[in-house]
Each structure stands twice: as C-alpha cells, then as structure tokens.
Symmetry: C2
Subunit: 447 residues, 2 copies
Amino acid sequence: MSRKRIPFGVMLQGPGGHMNAWKHPSVPADASVNFEHYVRAARQAEKAGIAFVFIADGLYINEVSIPHFLNRFEPIALLSALAASTASIGLVGTLSTSYSDPFTVARQFGSIDVISGGRAGWNAVTSPLEGSARNYNRDKHPEHALRYEIAGEHIEVVKGLWDSWDDDAFPRDRETGRYADFTKMHRLDFKGRFHAAEGPLNLGRSPQGQPVLFQAGASDDGIKLAGRHADAVFAGSESFEQNRELSRKLKQSAQAHGRQPDHLKIFPGVAPVVGSTEEEAERKYQEIRALVTDHEALLYLGRFFDHHDFTAYPLDDPFPDLGDIGANNFRAHTDRIKRVAREKKLTLREVALNEATPRSRFIGTPEAVADELGRWVEGGAADGFVLGFHVLNAGLDDFEAQVLPILEARGQHRPAQFGTTLRDHLGLPYRDSRYAVPSAGTGEEAA
Amino acid sequence: MSRKRIPFGVMLQGPGGHMNAWKHPSVPADASVNFEHYVRAARQAEKAGIAFVFIADGLYINEVSIPHFLNRFEPIALLSALAASTASIGLVGTLSTSYSDPFTVARQFGSIDVISGGRAGWNAVTSPLEGSARNYNRDKHPEHALRYEIAGEHIEVVKGLWDSWDDDAFPRDRETGRYADFTKMHRLDFKGRFHAAEGPLNLGRSPQGQPVLFQAGASDDGIKLAGRHADAVFAGSESFEQNRELSRKLKQSAQAHGRQPDHLKIFPGVAPVVGSTEEEAERKYQEIRALVTDHEALLYLGRFFDHHDFTAYPLDDPFPDLGDIGANNFRAHTDRIKRVAREKKLTLREVALNEATPRSRFIGTPEAVADELGRWVEGGAADGFVLGFHVLNAGLDDFEAQVLPILEARGQHRPAQFGTTLRDHLGLPYRDSRYAVPSAGTGEEAA
Ligand SMILES: Cc1cc2nc3c(=O)[nH]c(=O)nc-3n(C[C@H](O)[C@H](O)[C@H](O)COP(=O)(O)O)c2cc1C
Ligand SMILES: Cc1cc2nc3c(=O)[nH]c(=O)nc-3n(C[C@H](O)[C@H](O)[C@H](O)COP(=O)(O)O)c2cc1C
C-alpha cells in the first residue's frame, strides 16, 4: 500500500473533551491538575506514533464553567514540563493574542522550542469569552473583527521577533572572544495600531526556525489570518463537507498570501468512539452521554452563547430564537447550532444533549473509523486529525489498540515519529528567516 | 554541634554570573540556551542539598549587553522544564511586575507549584532597564517610585488570585456529581489604579498554599514592598554591615505590616572562589579576571554611566573626573565607583577590571569561606545565601567538594533537602489562605 501517512494530534485537556469526563472511571478525577496524568498520556501517545499533544486554554471561569476548567494548568508551564518529560512528540499549546504581550509569547514558545529540540507549536486564539477582559483589567472584550486585527499584529510581532537573529548569529568563538555577530542581528522596530516592539528578542532562532503556528478560528477573518500566518488550522467541525470546503478556502487563502497551499495543513478535531461491534461502540457512546444531566447540558450550551441562561426555556419546546446572542463568541459554532436546530426542528433538550456529547461521525468499529479517517484525507477534507476523545484514557487506549494497527496495516500510520521536529511530523519545511538569502525553493515568503 | 543549618540557593544564569563566563572551559559556550546544562547543574545542586535554583531575567538587550544575556531562556518555560527534571530542589524565577499581567503570572507560578509538588518561587522585580518599555509597547519605562506602586498592586492581585479557592474547594465526588464547592470559591473583584482582576483564578491552591515570593530591590520602596509581601529578599551587596542593616530594616518592615519578622528571610548574593590554599584561590580569581579584556571591561563600565565611552581615556592614568555623568541611572553605584577610585587612587584600567570581575569577600580557602558564611548567619546579616558563582560549573564543583563538607561537619549543612516544599527548605510555614479560619498560630496575617 502506498497510501499517505496521517499525522494525528491528541487533545490533552485533563480528563477529556467531555464536560463531565472527570466522572469516568478510566481517568483520575483531578486529571486537569494532575501532572502525572499528563505525562502518562503524552508518553503513551508518543510511543503510539502520534505526532503532537494539543493543550487548549481559557481565561475566564464562573459557576457554570465545565468542571475541569475550574482548575487547570496554564499551557506554557504545562507544555514546558511535558517537553522535559517526553522525547519526540510535538507540543502545541493555546495562548491568546488578546491577552498577552508578543515579546513574552515569542520568548516562551521560542524557549520551549529550544528546550524540546524543535517540538513546539503555538495555537494562537483570540479568546472567545467576554469575561476574560475583567480578569485582565480591560474595559471590554474586543469584538470579533477587532480581535482578529489585534491578532494579526500580535502574530506579526512574534514572528518578527523570532527572526531577530540569523541562524548563524552566535559564533561563540573563545579564540576571538566573539560571542555574537551583530551584523546578523535584526531589530524589528515594529510600530502598529495595537502592538509595538523594538527588539531584538533575547533569544536566537530555534530548531524549527520558528515554532509551528496553529490557528483555530474558522470565520472569514480566521481564514484570512490563517492564510497569512498559520502552518496549521485546528478545525472545529466534524462534517466532511464543511472541512473540505474549509480546507479549500484555507489553501486558497495561503496561496493568495504568496505561500504554498500545501504549507497550511488542516486538522479537524474528531472524537472517535470505537467498539469491536457497532453495538459496543454505541453502548460506549451512550455511557459517555449518561455522564451529563439535562441541567448540566443546558449550562454547557450556554457557554457558547456568553453564558446565556437556557434553563429559562421549556426543555421540550423547539430551540428558542436567540437573535444575535452568541455572535461575538464562538460565532461559526453558534451560527451552526442555530441553523441545524431550525433545519432539523430540534427541541432545546435535544440541542443541549447533542452539544454536551456530540454524536461523532467516528463512532463505530475500528474498521469503520479507520475507513472514515482515510476517506477524509483522500477526499481533501483533512491533512491530519486532532483526536479530542470524550474521555482521554479510555479513548486513547481504544484508538491505540484497535484503530492505529489497521491504519498501520494500510500504510497510513507507523508507531514511530515522522522525523525529529514537529515540522517534520506535520510535513512542513524548516522555517527560513525572512532575512535568509533564498536557497533552492525550500522555504516560502516570510509573512 | 547545634549550629543553625544554612539554606543555599544557586543562581543559574547560563555559564555563570561573570560577563564572560561563556569563555571558561568548564562550561558549554552556549550554556544560556543549553537545557542539558541547566538540568545537570540543577540536579547536582539538588543532590548536594542546595535548597533552590534561582533564575534571573531581563527584558531588553542591545549590542553592549552581557554576551550570554543576548540569547537566554524565558524563566517560566525554563523553571517548568526543570520542575519535571528534578525531584526536591526549589525553583525560583524572576518575572517583572512592570511588564506582565497578574492573572497570567498567578496561573504560571501556581501551575509550576502544582507540577513540582510545592517547589515554586517567584522573584518579583520591577525591571531596571529603560529599553524594556520599547519591547512592550509603552511610551516610557515607569520611574522608580511608580514602578514600586505598580508592583504593590500587581503582587496584591496575584496573591489574591492564589486564594481564589479554599484548600478543600474541590470534592470531585463522582457519587453526587459535585466537582467543586462554590461556597469555597472567592471572586477577588480587585480594582486598583494599575491593575484589576475579577477572578476567580482557574487554578486552585497549590502545595505550598502559595508559591514563595522573593523580592530583589533594596531601596526604601523595595524594603516596604518586601515587608508587606515577600517571604524572602535576594540582596545585592556583599558587605556584612550593609546586609546586617538591610536585614534589620526588612524584619522591622515585616513587623510593621503585622507579620512575624522571622517569616521574611534575607539571602545575600555571594560569589565564592575557593582554593585549597589562599594562593590557589587567588589564582582562580585571576583566571576568571582574565576572561575579560581591557576593552571589554571599559564597555562594561560604560553600561553604568549611560554608555559613556571610556576607551577615549588613557588606560593607566588616574580614573577620569566625570562630573555628573552617571548620576542619572545607577547613581548609588556610580557614586561609589567615583569615590573609591579617588580614595584608592585607582587607574581607569583598575576600576574597569574591578567592575567587570568584582573581588568577592568570599575568595579563599574552604575553611575561610565557610567561616565567613557562618559569621554572616550568626551575626544577623543573612538567613541563607544565593550562590552567584562567576563561572557556574567550576564554582559549584569546588563549593560542593570543599565548602559544603566543612559546613556539614559543623552542623550547618546536610546533603539532603530540609523537607518537601520550598517553604520547608527555607523554614517558612505553609501559607494559609486569607479566608482560612485562623488555626493555632500557624500562618500569619494575609497581606
Ligand atoms: C477547534 C477549536 C479549538 C479552539 N480552541 C480554543 C482554545 O483552546 N482556547 C480559546 O480561547 N479559544 C479556542 N477556540 C476559539 C477560537 O480561537 C476563536 O476565538 C473562536 O472560534 C472565534 O473565532 P472564529 O469565529 O474565527 O471561529 C477554538 C476554536 C476551535 C474551532
Ligand atoms: C540581587 C539582585 C538581583 C536582581 N535580579 C534582577 C533580575 O533578575 N531581573 C531584573 O529585571 N531585575 C533584577 N534586579 C533589579 C531589582 O529588582 C530592582 O529593579 C532594582 O534593584 C531597583 O530597585 P531598588 O532601587 O529597590 O534596588 C535585581 C536586583 C538585585 C539587588
């Protein structure tokens, strides 16, 4: 078989992606602040040949937050500790462009890239939760379009700072006494509307040239930003058609920014549930679905709509008309919820339970799941996947034991890493500096 | 012997504290970005019973910066990776209150405290370098008094956020489905002049209650801040008398803020150079001194005098009359340089070389160095020391092999940690939450 090998990432968010994953017997209840739990999962994934771990994040909690979000590790601290605890797996973490300083972000991900030997990735998000502003001394959370303008500048500064020093700027020659070659230092002198940085960064280039840049917004603004800056997109939808369409748009956007379309990868997030028979898979799915009560599901739904109180509506009436509520948060997602509810005439209870435990397209026998994953990649809907198991331990165990061997037999997986760096794992080239003399078509235009 | 055991910290700043430490054969030339170098030193220190490692930091570089500052790890990333690479040593890192967000700082150090099992410490500094402002999109670097006002609020917010959840706020009961007890959650709702945060933090209390707080400013404002907030002070002077005086003021300041004076520790930074004879110690010192050329020493000296060009003067003439040059930034230091040069009739070369490689009080035989360290602790000038070796590897090897055994024989050291947490190592109690019902005199007033 000569089929394309599929890179996988795995979401590590404490006990799993499900809002009540902490209740599942396969995970420690305190998983989100249990470092040993993270190490065990990262090493298991590494050994299984999974390309990277992925850490999500949030900057605001209240009484209706997902339980394991109340008490979770900060991503930089977690990633760096995982860098020291693993050998070859990629390490991608979420950090907000709306509530951070580019100079610090450049240093932190650059440092993790050096510490890990070239395995760092930054998932740059604009932060959907309004309350974040109140934790960061801001008058208000910037609205959607403005957040993306700020993000564009932020990322421009971070990438500029990462190129502060040429690859060979530090001869460190004890004979001549020359530590640095200042002709290979570049001050950024960036002055924008929202960000400014003189530079240079007090850190040289890292093993990947630059850490990998992920992006996770699928709106038009998100697509534009990804086309300009990102190496990879973490996509939220589990629809083949939507991902194929998103992939098309993303690669077009990359091309429009003078980049090779193949240098922007799309990773849909999927939540496989596998069983040796279809019935067993369905039973496992129902077991996960039973982790959440109706009331909890309503609170969960509210999260996407700026904590709108859905308990005020009758449970078995049609999903309510919400007007503009939710448009400034997870917009692409809330628009979809509204549309599907209307089209399928769903009740509030159905919408809430479906959101709390989405019925994945990837529930079934190992063969069926492997087929579907392969179909997505062959069909142009994915370059790889982020595995967001409902319950991390149970999900990863099953996937490793049952699905990966099938993909391996088909030439779509190997229980070893692709190469040394995360860029290797993802099929991305070393990132040349914007100041590098162009060599034979290796890199691409610096954004 | 029943003498008091002395806690030591060791500065890990790449190759060492000396401006040209990178040239010394005992260290890797790229030490400041060589993670293995850090791990090796941290483990060696841990095994020797040293209480903590200490990471300095800076937010601005240019062509005249100390070479190994041009390219260094960001402290959070470094500390967290070291947390995963060590078992019992304390982990203290520098982070600026002038260029960071309290919500993020609280999360990062809180996370490291959990990941490390209670070994984290934050050295809160206000940042001395004007250029930092230009890397962080600020009009200007806030002046000294203002920096300390900002720092006071910043630390107040961080400490407040650390108490967001009571120690027993997370029952995580799978039977009842109760993950968190919201009656044990505290929103901070802080609104100050410079900082605001609603809270709660999305992280519970950590193994030490709160990470240890270090402070490193010795001005009156610095002393006030330390008295109010700090658990320990990293002191810059190598004078016994000055440290005894500083210690007296610090403990007075703690008392004035309603705290037990013994809960604020003073750690002078010292740079021991030991040899089996006085001559050998002197030879080693001269070897370090020879790492810097006359020209480099002149540039180094210029840093304190607003980059004044000292290369324009004859090297072996008396130190030039500079008038007011240097009175603006490092005044205390430049005044002292001028005074000493006048009193001792030093040449420019001598002044420059003395500045580049200060002659420590701790140069001598192991016995002499051990005596002097002991004298400082007995005499009330120190509760412990931060070892800032000129060259890390050579310095730590000698100190471990020659000085620690003497202190051990005298009952002032043991090659094992004091306890489990950094607070244990420093003789500080668990930090009770401000909301805790006071129990039998364990903690102290919350600041
Ligand atoms: C798959 C996926 C994962 C995301 N992960 C995070 C996250 O970990 N933290 C966060 O603050 N926002 C996260 N977001 C939110 C996005 O970054 C973005 O702010 C939001 O989707 C709104 O942008 P959009 O309208 O372009 O989709 C995620 C979004 C998606 C689709
Ligand atoms: C021993 C010592 C260590 C210091 N370490 C740092 C450091 O790592 N990073 C930093 O930005 N400032 C550092 N500082 C600077 C202080 O935090 C402070 O900004 C400066 O000393 C001015 O404050 P003061 O006038 O109160 O001393 C240090 C100061 C001392 C005395």
